[in-house]
Symmetry: D2
Subunit: 335 residues, 4 copies
């Protein structure tokens, strides 16, 4: 992947572009990095990789992408350029130091893949003269400027595969299984996975069921309606101790009940094909925007199309409400 002199090179507003990932890792981040590197070369830009997120940026952990076989990462989970927490980046002096690292290497633009916090960093760099583009990268799908974020599709599949397994045991033993899924404070993963797996109860922060309400539903399903199995999908951060709740359900209903916290298995894993399709296009679009002299924009996949809007706006949009469909499908799945 040696860099070739492209005919149109002199027309480009920038010559060098760097990429970093920030926040929790998400499947498809690597697909996006690969696409950015390759689209940059296709346009005649020199791509650089920033290792360890904003921390690495500030410390100058920046290397040319040309030495890396990025194609190998198209279907790999995680982020091969690493990610790191770095609250120090809120300090302006730190950000100026980061800018200096880029200046020193002649890098005019930075593409940031991450969530809300990462977008804030990108916006602040934009205001001090670094051209920045943000890509939504998080399994939680909680960036309101995009219908879907990089990582969401794959995390959904990971959850669904595991809930399918749990369903097998629930059925074989007529047990009730409570499964806690990620999503930070957003109900997207719970709602999508609950519908996809036919969960008899889907609980998100929009309506936190009391233990009494849950017990009544379990009793109705398993004791009165004699259902073969029952799955409850719960978004994280709602109940302190699911294990204790499971025990209480079991005591009151006599239905053997177990709780499973899917936890850290949800963030890794190979990105799905559709994830890679979306991530590749987002990454390419970031390069195209920079070549059109744009900066300070967040890319989204909205109503099935690529869009870009000011990062500040991306951060303040309302998020979709799911309560109506979680209630509806909980009821349908109880039939």
């Amino acid at each position: 992947m040696a860099l070739k002199k492209k005919k149109n090179e002199k027309k480009l507003p920038i010559r060098k572009v760097a990429i970093l990932t920030s926040g929790g890792d998400a499947p498809g981040m690597n697909s996006a990095i690969r696409a950015i590197v390759k689209a940059a070369m296709w346009k005649g830009l020199e791509p650089y990789l920033v290792y360890e997120g904003y921390k690495g940026l500030t410390e100058g952990n920046i290397k040319p992408a040309s030495n890396v076989n990025v194609d190998r990462f198209i279907n790999q989970g995680g982020t091969f350029i690493y990610s790191a927490r770095y609250p120090e980046f809120k300090d302006e002096k730190v950000r100026l130091k980061a800018k200096k690292q880029l200046d020193k290497m002649g890098i005019e633009a930075l593409i940031v893949i991450g969530g809300d916090g990462s977008y804030h960093g990108a916006q602040l760099l934009h205001t001090i003269g670094v051209r920045t583009i943000g890509l939504p990268g998080t399994i939680d799908n909680d960036i309101s400027s995009s219908d879907y974020t990089i990582g969401f599709f794959s995390a959904l599949e990971t959850i669904v595969q595991n809930v399918d397994r749990i369903r097998d045991t629930s059925r074989s033993h007529h047990r009730c299984m409570i499964v806690e899924v990620m999503g930070r404070f957003a109900g997207d993963l719970a709602t999508h996975s609950g519908i996809a797996t036919g969960a008899e109860l889907i609980i998100t922060s929009e309506k936190k069921y009391s233990i009494k309400e849950i017990i009544d539903i379990v009793d109705q399903q398993m004791n009165k309606n004699k259902k073969e199995s029952m799955i409850i999908v719960v978004a994280e951060h709602l109940y302190d101790n699911l294990d204790k709740i499971a025990k209480e359900i079991e005591q009151k209903t006599n239905v053997v009940t177990r709780s499973i916290v899917l936890s850290q298995v949800q963030r890794g894993g190979a990105p799905t094909g559709f994830e890679r399709y979306v991530a590749t296009q987002m990454g390419t679009y970031a390069i195209e925007l920079l070549c059109e002299n744009k900066s300070g924009l967040a890319i989204g996949f909205v109503r099935n199309q690529l869009v870009a809007e000011p990062i500040l706006e991306a951060l303040t949009k309302p998020r979709p409400k799911y309560l109506e469909i979680t209630e509806k499908y909980s009821k349908i799945n109880q039939e």
Copy 2:
């Protein structure tokens, strides 16, 4: 799943609804059937299953869904109510006989899951008084009234998983691999899978490359640019004998070249979680439309939202063009 008397039952415009699948099987058909059966019961309707598509309909192969454990099929490939070719349905007398079968059982509405041909049948039944709703079910994604059809997402994953495997061998041996994927006359599967797998050349019917052109690209990639590997994704129905083309490429470039026709592995398999999410909502929406006294409509998933429009319109919309992105990503992937 015994049928319960629902309070609102008397208000409903229909009492009984049947479901059939027609055309090639597609992952997610079973998820949609399950959703229809359960949504029907939730609304207080009696669901029936028509076995073997329009053929079974005409022959009266119709049974109550209440005896089937539909939940087991939420994640199963194929269609458990079977599908069949039945050109006889173009004959009006045959259709009248089909209608009689429904009348005899008091079934007022029919939900058809399938492709273009299936939609035609549904439209014709609608004109003779059967309330019909069409759901787009085909891996080919070639129904223009929906951005995505039931089956497309899963077939995409099946292709991508297999191309990833082929990539391993291509890399290990520096071979060129030509992979033919399905899609009938639509390039959707080729385009999406080509982008998702980083295919160095994506060929659809919008631009059929000559063998000479292909050879030049292989030579450039593998001999001049010394790339590790090369994948060419080709839509079906474009070249008569890929094996012969592979041999010609090998002769002219000295790059070992193999062709693989993915063929019938693309249509089966478990539906992905996202497929199940979409199919479940489409199926439920079909029941909701019937309960709103609608008929003759085709359901779509357009710009990320459920829509319904007259079947006749669904059949005549233009399809998206992919040439621009297949060309663009072929070039980016060649970097």
Copy 3:
């Protein structure tokens, strides 16, 4: 699958055979049931299904297998004839009642798929005149009469897939991840999955590391040796509160550490092909043994061959020791 009169039928020592599953469900149980049903028919026997394990047996929940499409279950997780705990079966009166249920239907033989406890039941039935054959069915691999049990191969893959995902996140963030896997009191799943995933520390009951020892290894790996990532695989029942241990490791080493209890995802899921290969042969062999007038035997897959031995002996064999290889591979993986 209507039962055909076979020429050799009159020679058989039995005419009817029943199957039950007992204990925790395991992938491959369904493949074994299917094989038993089909092998029975091939031999000219009438197969019956006992639903809900020994409980269903005692209550007479026994139905002809000929009405079930067993082929559909060859690749399905769980057990479609259900399993149940039933300590009452230790009572001889209960067992005599169970025998009466079989006698009433003219069923002379019973094949039991399950673990230790299930084998005890089978042995006791054997002593009161029911011909019994035991098949090792448990993900834990803790039946010493077989190198591998039905379910072990598939559970291993489920664990490995999930640990691979966890590795992605461990790498992306340089975190230490502690993963608790099943196995009851056997270290087989921990050892196999730890080696397969390159775990830097594998802990089974053969050597329970102190928290201090674990902290030292984490510190060596992540702080002194600057490794990219670290996975600790721990067998269940060893530590009370992994979450607390993770926090302590983090405090002492400054390495972000998380614990994940894979829990109930390990028991369900589609059986692997190899599992199905083994389970199918075990099931078939059970029928062949009954046709040879054998009873009271446990089937094993030992040194890559099918074997059968008296159930009593199966229950008392020593189990393999893993300490040497868990220690060795922990060290190799720390390189």
Copy 4:
């Protein structure tokens, strides 16, 4: 993974060891390479990677493994050190040149992962003074000194996953599907996958069915016995044109019949956990044997245990016969 001075280093018979892969790529080769590299370092040896098989060996394409992050490859398909055909290695002058390359770098030992042909090369190097160990690496399982070869388990799963998909379509449309699987001249993949998928007919080179015989079985199954579906698994190299045979079956039986050649999808893909477990142990054992001053040995996994024997003997053992079980399971699956 910097090389550390180990206390016991001076006692070792060798100091440097190289690894190469040869022949068709197979899942698990990378896991074995990783294990060899890490086990070498654990023992205090310096590991080297030979790129491009015997060709690279002869040309001196040999690099220290210490610069490669081998852990990343534990679950990757293919071989990251590449493989190549190199018939020139039959020439003694070429082999002497290869030995010189090793001598020049002070490398005393070579571990070869591959099939029959690769073993021959290893044996010949052994005779001219290079210490060699052979590991069985091929999906075909056709190395008689090992019950299972590296790659076989994973290829089996790839086939089974794809045949399961094909089964869905076969069922949905009552079609007969002929699936050709790899195995060179060995029936192992056909036999194992045929049993695992319940194929109604399994054909290997031990008994090539005539088209007439196949037609009779299809007619019996689909027309007379009214089976839902039918799968025929055929080993490669038996029939010239399966497509033509499918057409003939369809003409004679009126059962829609399709043929699928799984082809190159079978060789790539992530190794299964069990594959990685076996490959890791084989790789480690190779290092242990070299440290015990052994050479000219082939490693096997026989009756569930690691063994080593002279390469020459490995090449001449008889292979297992499958005819009895392919016939038996074809019949059982036809029930």
